[in-house]
Amino acid sequence: MTAGARHRRAGGGSRIPALLLVPAGLALGFLAVPLAGLLARTPWGNLGAELVTPRVLEALRLSLVCSLGAVAVSIVLGVPLAFLLARVTFPGRNLVRALTTLSMVLPPVVGGVALLLAFGRRGLVGQWLDQWFGITLPFTTAGAILAEAFVAMPFLVISTEAGLRAMDRRFEDAAATLGAGRWTILRRVTLPLIAPSLGAGVALCWARALGEFGATITFAGNLPGVTQTMPLAVYIALETDLQAAIALSLVLLVVSLAVLVALRDRWFPTA
């Protein structure tokens, strides 16, 4: 902690009415106690054994494949969309931006239903995919990736767009005077300069994809080894094998904490 932050905390902290400390403490407890519950019930002794059971390993593997796949889809499609939103003025841009972020606030289960209606075998697009290419998405791993990308991509788009808007575009001018064409500028100047925003976006996007539940189970189902990712496995295990549910939850908790720690400098610069 820097000296400045210490001053701010000391000066500001003593200035709130004492009465506020009670609900503030309750809020803190409310947020922390469930985590404590999870940790208290963790079977530390045979945690290792719990984590290497075939179904846990299968769920872990699938979660990694699906979440990384969703991140890849989000990067390939979402970063260009962020450029479009940040750099191109076109009519209805605000509408497009709102549409982009809709899946962030949409209940994931509704997203799942919408995906089914679009990409299901009888869906708007799905029927053509099925007829022309023989591609079926629902209840496949690709479908799970699609569901996760649908929910997670906006995090990457928003973060990247913010980075693009905040950067000093004159660096691109400087690169152009040095003979760099658009692709060179993008690759050697723009992307490196927005790397922090891009990194934060990727981390958020990945964390969101990893935790995705509602859209996945609705669109891709809950097939072990095909679409049963960790959150789904936790949900199922809760009814049959509490120990496995806790072990899986712990893994997800550790990943979330890791993302938080990785982004701390960005979100809590001096605290």
């Binding site: 004159r170 001018d173 005077t177 040095l178 050697r188 300069l193």
Partner: protein
Amino acid sequence: MSLEADLGLALGELDLEVELTVASGELVVLLGPNGAGKTTLLRALAGLVPLDHGRVVLDGAVLDDVATGEHVPTERRPIGFVFQDYLLFPHLSALENVAFGLRSRGLPRAEARRRAAAWLDRVGLAAHAAARPRALSGGQAQRVALARAMVGDPRLLLLDEPLAALDAATRTEVRRDLRRHLASFDGTRLLVTHDPLEAIALADRLVVLEEGRVTQTGTPAEVSGQPRSRYVAELVGVNLFHGRADGHTLRLAGGTLVVADEHHGAVLAAVHPHAVALHRRLPEGTPRNVWAGTAGAVEVVGDRVRVQVTGPVPIVAEVTPAAAAELRLAEGGQVWASVKATEVTVYPA
């Protein structure tokens, strides 16, 4: 071999209409107040701002011609640009910054780095090749920016306030280095500044830009000797009068001015503050030009005392401290200002 530009563009409040020619090997300094359009002019020459109308030709090759639709994009112009705050790429080392242009123009990595290293050595920064821009001082960053702009052998070098970001202590030294490096460059050079000292120290020729228009061009001596606008007159510290001449007499807005030579029509008259004498009473004898006035602001400038005299003919005088004391000069006091006819420089408006 030269730059010929005749361009016009409107950008926000700015309405730029400029005709500009810079000979090859010539260093032209574009001088003007903030907001005059200097930076926009450089950006337009670099192709970073589109023209509304006009033509830019460099060494016989058309870079821009709105009439025919010709436009060479920035990355294909043979230019080097030193930006006001340098805009060194923060994620690249000093060496990589200098090598950037060579790399984007297709030079192999090793060759680009070798040439960049040679340039860093030339500007005395070989030891800082691996440093990120953040770790460089202002003067060092300026030299990296200069090396980056010059390493690609541009035909036109554009410099936007290259010394403005430096503190006064380093500026003198960096200006001397800049002058040396600019002298070693044989292409066309155009430098922008709002600092008259910098302009006079560096320029072969001055171009004064005010509110998007060229108001005066000439050598530093010509411009400072015969200012054509209030802005330039104030920069070089002389009194400037607009008037109509009829023989030896100039009619000014608030009086008349008698001059030594014969002139006719609209003229400008410059009077150096040293040549203005102040008196407590109406002086008798030789001076032909005497005006009553009130002493305004009194300030010490170097070893002289500068007095702003307000009245029908406002004028600035610089007198010795002894004279000021003898006159018991104070703000608001009544004075007479006199100028000898031979001390007035008159030239056509």
